[in-house]
Each structure stands twice: as C-alpha cells, then as structure tokens.
Amino acid sequence: MLPLVMLGVTFFLFFLTQRLSPEMRASLYIQDPRQMDSLEEVIEKYGLNDPMPVQYFRWLKGAVKGDLGYSESANMPVTSAIKAYLPATVQLAVAAIILVVLFGVWLGIISAKYKDGLADNMIRFFVLAGFSLPIFVLGLILLMIFYGKLGWFAPGEYSFTADMIIHGANFKSYTGFLLIDSLLNLNFYVFFDVLKHLVLPAVTLCIGSFALMVRVMRSSMLEELNKDYVRSARARGLSDFKVIYEHAGLNAMIPVVTLAGIQFIRLLGGTVIVETVFDYPGIGRWGVECAQQLDIAGVMGFSLMVAVLFVLGNLAADILYTAIDPRIRLK
C-alpha cells in the first residue's frame, strides 16, 4: 500500500514539474551547484527533453538511491537539507502536541463535568474561535505582543549567543535535536534558550487543534461518566476528583491517544505557515522557500518527505489504536 501511494504521489508531482522548462528541472539531478554552469550538458545527460514517463523512471531510480537533487534555496543537496531542517520541525511538532494533549484533555474534562453549563459553553466557544483563527494572523499578533511590546520571546530557533555556542568547538551534535543535544552537552543555557524560542510557535501551532481534541475528550468523558462503574464508585462515596481524574479520565483517554497521533501528523501541515511567520528554520519554512523560488528539487524532496512522514504517521496511529483499544484487538 505505502509504496503504491508514494509512487502515485511522486508521479503526480513529477507530472506537474513538466510544466516547467528543462533548465528549471535540471536541479533535480545534480548534487553540486557547479554542475549548473554547464546546464546544456545536464539537460543532455539526464534527457530532460525525453517523454515524461522515461524521465520519471530515471528520476525514480535516483530517488530510490537517495539522490534527490540539489536545493538551490538551501544551498545544499536535498538530502542534506532534510537532515538539517527536520529535527527542528519535529521538536516543534512534539512541543505542540504535548500542549494539545495536556490542555485538550483538561478542557475536555471540565467541559464534560459542567456539561451545558457556563464553563462548558465558554470552552466550546473559545475552542471553536481558536479553530477559526488563521494561524498566520495569530502568529503575527503574538509576535506583536510578546516580542514587539514585552520582548519576552523572539522569533528564530535560538538567540545569537546560543548560536555562537552551538556552532562553537565545544558543542557536540549528537542527535540534531537541539533540546536533547544541549542536555547531553550539559549546556542549560542553550536548552532554555531553545525552549524559550519554541513557546510562541508551539502555542500558535496547537491552537487550531484543540477543537477536535476537546470535543472528543468531552464526549468520551460523558460516555464514561454514565457507565455503571463510575456510578458505583460515586455511590461508594469516592470524591468527584478521584472519580473523574482517576477512574473515568483514564478510560476516556483511549480515543484521545489515537487522535493525538492523527493530530500530530496534521500539525506538520501547519508548520509550513508557523515556521514562516516565526522565521523558524524547520522543514516547513524550507518548503515554502522552495515553492516561492521554484526550487524544483527542493519542492519534490520536501513533498516526498512530508508524504512519507504523513503516511507512516497514519500507519502508526492505526497501530497505536489497535494496541490500546481492547475492543478492536479482540476482533
């Protein structure tokens, strides 16, 4: 299934690139910008005027070997660009999904507990408003307040000082994830600096995802609260807090876990805008730059990578779902 879908995606995108001139498509095949000096040669060598299917299979053969061309907007080969930008995006998406789950579950529980009351209605309204708020508008407003006015959080991935440290001789890169690397280097300054820069983009990214999370948690919680075991727990005189958070809450979390998986994947689409607004050097911002500058190798590599992440993520969510829901496992 996965290979078939990937073939379809790449074929479709490759088909689109055919609208562009061979000169623009040459970057798909090279690994070194100096090759661009002899453009005619590249076009000749890779048969960029051949029929489209022939070109596609030639490109595919290279792509399978990890040869995705040279990204002019990143000034490096596409594979290197992915390696350089992906960790920052994953870091951002993880931070956002943690916020979504924590606050989504909490708001969902409150909403269920005070069903149809003031708190419930307010939560539902604000969650919907958040869902309707264009993330680039929210991002700009947050920047205006927290950077322009208060000066608390700056755009970018880290400050100038942190940049010096990270690229200094004593800072070793273990994983590419700066939050992990800084801890491994025992450099807490960098850790907190990176964390601080993560706040605004993560908040912006997650705001649109609350709607579904709160709704699912709320209905799941309501269902759970109506079950016999919750009633008997209450009858035994357990406190509301204990009943809600320890008994019903944990069971109501089952659909939330699945949803979190799916939301995590969806956040990837949002990173495109959030990273652009906050000038955050992740894969999304790179993708936008590629699209804006018609960096074809970059566009292909970017969408290919997003598609792989997306499909794998959905697969993982499915597996997770069957793993935690006993009702499905039994079937």
């Binding site: 299934m1 078939l4 879908v5 990937m6 379809g8 995606v9 479709f12 995108l13 689109l16 690139t17 609208r19 562009l20 309204f125 919907l128 408003a129 869902f131 309707s132 708020l133 264009p134 993330i135 680039f136 508008v137 700009l140 407003i141 920047l143 205006m144 950077y147 322009g148 006015k149 994947i265 969806r266 990837l268 689409g269 949002g270 495109v272 805008i273 652009t276 993708g287 936008v288 590629c290 699209a291 804006q292 018609l294 074809i296 566009v299 970017f302 969408s303 997003v306 598609a307 997306f310 499909v311």
Partner: protein, 292 residues
Amino acid sequence: MSIKDIISKAFGSKNAIAGLIIVVFFALIALFAPILAPSSGRDAYQMPQGGYSIEPQAPNAQHYFGTTENQYDLYYGIVWGSRMAFKVGITVVFFALLIGIIIGGAAGFAGGWTDEILMRLTDIIFAVPSMVLAMVIAAMLGRDLDNMMIALTVVSWPSYARLVRGGVLSVKEREFVLAARALGASSLRIFLKHIMPNAIYPVVIMASLDIGYIVLTAASLSFLGLGSPVGTADWGQLVALSRNWILGGHGNPFAYWYTIAVPGGALLLFVLAWNLLGDAFRDILDTSSRKA
C-alpha cells in the same frame, strides 16, 4: 431526516444563528461591493494604490480602515476581499463537489476494480497534507488566481468523493433500489433517480459549509505569496502586507495595529461564522446518519 428538518433543527442553536447572521453580513458586503467601494480601474479586484509611501497610514477620514504598506486602502481591500472570498469559496466547493460526486458516485455504484482504482487515487491526494499539496501545486502552476483555485480544488475533491461513495454504498442496498431493479429500470436511471438524490445531499451540505475552510487555506496560500497576484483584494495578502510592521515604530509597538487587526479580523470573523454553522449541521448530520 428531510432537509427541512435538518435546517430547522440546526437553526435551533444560537451559535448557528450567529454564524448565519455573519455570513449574510459578508454576503451583503460582497454583493454590494461595487456600491460600497466603487472602483476606477478595469479590474475591480485589483486594489488601487494611493501613493508610493511605504509606511502604512492610520485610519482617517479618507481611509476608514487605514492603509497598508505601499498605500493599498484597507477598506477597499476588505470590501472587495469579501467578494473575493465568496468567489474563491463557491468556485472551489462547486468544482470539488462536482468531481467528488462523479468520482465517488462512479466508485460506489460500479464497485470492483473501478472502485479500487478511484479510491487509490484519493489515497494519493490524502497522502500529503492538503495545505502542503495545495502550496506545491500552486507554486508549480504559477502565481495566479485561477491556479490557486485549481490547487484548492485538487486537494478538496477526494474527501467529497469518499463521502459520496459511502452514501452510494449505503443507499445501494435499500429496498427502493431493489424495487426499481425489479421494475426493470436501467442502471443509469437507478443511479440518477434513486441513488444519487439520496446519497449526495448530506455531502452537499457539508461541502457548502467548507467554504470557510477553503477561504482560510486560500488566504494562507496568498499569505505565503503563492496565491492571488500582487495587489489583489485578498485578505491573506493584506495580512502578509502587515508583516513588516507588527513591531510598530515611533516608540509604540502597536503603532500599526490596524494593518493586522483589520484583515485578520475579517478573516477570523468569516471563518468563525462558517465554523459555527458547520458545527451545528455536523452534529445533526452525524446523529442522523448513525440512526439510519
């Protein structure tokens, strides 16, 4: 449940009524745009430029909402932007729905290999987040309003196709379809008269409510500079024009608040209204399909 029941039930909720009022408000603005903001140029969607100064102007008697950088009038942009929003939303929903109905209907009715192939086609589109795919398609087609709408249509039809297919599959087994077959009605007649009218109307309602989401995606593309051409009255583009001014100036961080608040507010209100409507209808359509 009949359409009448659904509509009367949906508007039992205050949220839905609020949504409807706002949508109607924007629709009126869109409808009367030529009167509210008369244009002098040939293309009314192209915003007139009142000078070449970079710095935005605060709201004043001449420019009710102020101007953006490069002196595009925000009032004009908001008014014609409403019209643009409806134009983009309705066009994209119409064509995406049309394709979705044809492909989903064919897949559900024919079944077998036709179904398999058409559904794998939707899988391919679903394999990339719609925002990313729309961005890539729009970029490769070139910065142009029509191309943006094509990109949005390409990423929108698969979900309608799947919904229509599901509807067709469930209607196909109903006894009135068997009765029509027993009468000797042709496949085409059964499909057009019996299956489609019963399979598509929830999808049509859902799709119309997607106008808000479509406009939001379109605005995102324009914000990234991959949507409408420079100077088009388009809320996303107006927001993009505020990017250089959000840090303020003259010692006041909020000096240019209107450059973001005006177009951002219009966009938020528009999308929120559709979501309020959509929420009410989705609740009802969900429960009614569960009962059926």
